[in-house]
Symmetry: C2
Subunit: 329 residues, 2 copies
């Protein structure tokens, strides 16, 4: 939901030259963006103002964790999206990747490509959204750059560094491991894609559990992202009846006639965690997770088995693809 201060319509692109960034100097754009990043920006030299940001490492964790992601006007949000929501999305989708690694956020670099007709107040609001989401999760915006590009264009890239105690990736599941997923899936387009919270606390806790063998976040949709968890000699065998389906997926299903479970399997931008646990420890892990995170839904949805790189339905062995699966086609 847009902040309450949104009592007028302000889009990313303006037709009023007086509101456009085209009339601002590069220094002024940088000043406004930095000011609106607010508390997320540490003071110089650890923050903006020099050729580089320079700071002492303070996080006592063995592994540095590094990721980058962008949001682009017309692709990840549209011109009616409030700047603060687009900015928060940029931060949160990066932090969802850190969550999958079980890392805690450290510092980030923000790069903006800005057309001359981008609304200057919208841009400030975007920076506020970045700053607020970053500050909420202890992420420091240490620097960035701004480039002018052609009219109608806005793209923002955030490169994020974090730290973790151990290496947790999506490629290390073993045959027999139980597959879990947090949250409820599908229908993100109805709003979740702009207003989710990255599962950082859950990810950090999972990183500390040695029985968790692999983890990824759901960004392209369960049916696609499950492939990231398995290698060519493994299958993921899913109990479709156990899939947690969001209210939004049901709502979309009513509107488009496509089964809600297909939305849960195929829709992108869930930003939930998908992870595997050694079979004999799965029940204990599940119980401990639910004690630790009583508000975060957690479901066991299937197992990793010896196979040929496929996602299959446990009930009838039907192969599930990103485009839907056998008995729904």
């Amino acid at each position: 939901m847009p902040p309450a201060s949104y009592n007028f319509r302000m889009g990313a692109i303006t037709s009023q030259p007086s509101r456009s960034v085209g009339q601002l100097t590069e220094e002024e754009i940088i000043r406004r963006v930095t000011a609106n990043l607010g508390q997320a920006c540490p003071p110089f030299p650890a923050g903006p103002g020099g050729d580089c940001a320079i700071f002492e490492e303070t996080v006592a964790r063995k592994f540095r964790v590094s990721t980058v992601d962008s949001v682009i006007l017309g692709r990840h949000f549209d011109s009616s999206t409030a700047g603060a929501l687009a900015g928060a999305k940029l931060v949160n989708r990066n932090l969802s990747d850190l969550a999958a690694a079980g890392a805690i956020p450290s510092d980030a670099l923000l790069s903006l490509l800005v057309g001359p007709d981008v609304d200057s107040e919208w841009l400030e609001d975007f920076a506020r959204g970045v700053g607020k989401a970053a500050h909420q999760f202890g992420l420091h915006c240490v620097g960035g750059d701004i480039c002018r590009v052609q009219a109608g264009t806005f793209a923002a890239t955030l490169a994020v560094q974090g730290f973790a105690h151990r290496i947790l990736t999506r490629k290390t599941a073993h045959n027999g491991d139980v597959i879990f997923v947090t949250g409820k899936l599908g229908g993100s387009i109805l709003g979740h894609h702009l207003s989710f919270e990255p599962r950082l606390a859950e990810g950090e806790w999972l990183n500390a559990q040695s029985t968790v063998t692999a983890c990824t976040d759901l960004s392209d949709g369960m049916a696609k992202d499950l492939h990231g968890l398995i290698n060519p000699t493994q299958d993921a065998v899913i109990d479709l009846t156990s899939l947690p389906i969001s209210d939004a997926a049901h709502q979309l299903s009513k509107a488009d006639g496509k089964p809600a479970i297909e939305h849960a399997l195929q829709d992108g931008e869930d930003y939930e965690l998908l992870f595997t646990v050694a079979a004999e420890q799965a029940d204990l892990l599940e119980a401990n997770f639910k004690k630790k995170f009583p508000l975060t839904p957690l479901k066991s949805i299937g197992v990793i088995s010896h196979g040929t790189g496929l996602i299959k339905s446990r009930a009838d062995g039907a192969v599930i693809t990103g485009q839907g699966f056998g008995h729904f086609a």
Copy 2:
């Protein structure tokens, strides 16, 4: 100069659909880019392939140094520029910022915005240029992302981490300090902007000299970047006769009638180091630098003095602006 293998014309944008990235899947684009980054990419999980790159810090230096910069088709290079040159420029302009901090390169994240009509072979060549320049200076390309954008567009952003023994920035010059510059200035547009080497070795050495008080790199032109070295209570007083002027600046001057010294002051993308040294140690520093780097031109060009935030000519006190200066106007 383009590599010898360039025996046919290959631009960034293609009119042949069969050569365009529009016909490739996202996975295939990532595979090709990663393959062409080559040795610069460490193996998974320290390199591409997961939600994040994850690696153990191995550099025993106290301060992490962080910077980000982009190259955009039509702004930092044109559609006739060889991909490898554009890719090398992306790396080298970031490493020039690290050089200014006296840092050694560590790791980088590469973000690409790619229109459907970008030539796929040009893109592979771009990735080779990134990989080769990165590998040359020990920079690891640990991850990245690729987004599709509208036709005619190519933008690449590199976020770089390095390490330094002490904090060296551009904002710490004292009154009386002597100003030095490496290299020769101006006329970068004739080729230098695509084929320079970042002054990493010089920067690292300067970082280790306690008499060096401030450092920046020349990216926007001497007249503008000098402002970065001073605060509002200081002037930079420059001996214009001592400015090192490049052959390219003289060449441009002949073509456009503008004095070569104006090119040396105003042209951007020199990527040289501009630094200050405590006055009583300036001669010794200069002698030691020339012993250590006999092939790198070094000139003392002026001093920092008490003032009002201006760049002035030592001879007559004329104020030098980014747009030229008094007696040339």
